[in-house]
Amino acid sequence: MLLRLLEWFLFGGVVGSVPLIADGITLAWQQSFEWSEFLAQGDALLVGAVLCGAAIGKLVLSGGRYKAPQLIATCSCVVVMAVSSWQYAVLRYIGDVLSTAYSPSVAGSTVVLLYLLALGSSAVAVTISE
């Protein structure tokens, strides 16, 4: 179980976040870099949705010794993935149009929350899958 979780963390969590880290480093060189504006772009939501999708795939292919928790974890990943995708669409399009209601700090904290939940849900799913 620990080996599976380590494999997921290294090749899902860390390697999956490399584009995000590269983007952050590139933006950090600029003088007017703001964390909230960087997070409010919503790219972390895409990484979280991909992690959830991969975890759903693992659960679908896994054995059926723990059927009930596997079903609940699949549902959890689907919910987090759907909310992340929807929030990404909101940030990319509606947020630009309604710029008066668009607050980078609020959007950034929403993105961080959803990203952490996507990480947690996929970690639980990978732990439960066999």
Partner: protein
């Protein structure tokens, strides 16, 4: 924060926690059952003991078993080569 996003995220997180708790409970119950099965199997298995015969051979001695020495193994006081009492005269 967007209330719908926060609500959806909270629901997803809650489901994850529920799944993890059920998994832990089921895993512990399964491990406990497996351990009980192993203990029961070991308790029912006959105790087998090996002794070295006077001739230097390793001889199996059954204890707490329905099998007798005549059926299963060579008695300790017998020579395993010719199955005669070792110290008996011909």
């Amino acid at each position: 924060m967007n209330p719908f996003a926060v609500g959806g995220a909270a629901f997803g997180g809650f489901l994850s926690v529920v799944a993890l708790v059920i998994y832990i409970v089921q895993d512990r119950a399964s491990n406990k059952l497996r351990k009980q099965e192993e203990e029961r199997f070991q308790a029912e298995a006959p105790t087998v003991k090996y002794e070295t015969s006077p001739g230097g051979y390793s001889v199996r001695v059954d204890q707490d078993s329905t099998l007798t020495h005549d059926e299963e193994s060579i008695p300790v006081d017998m020579d395993p080569l010719d199955l005669k009492p070792k110290h008996s005269s011909n």
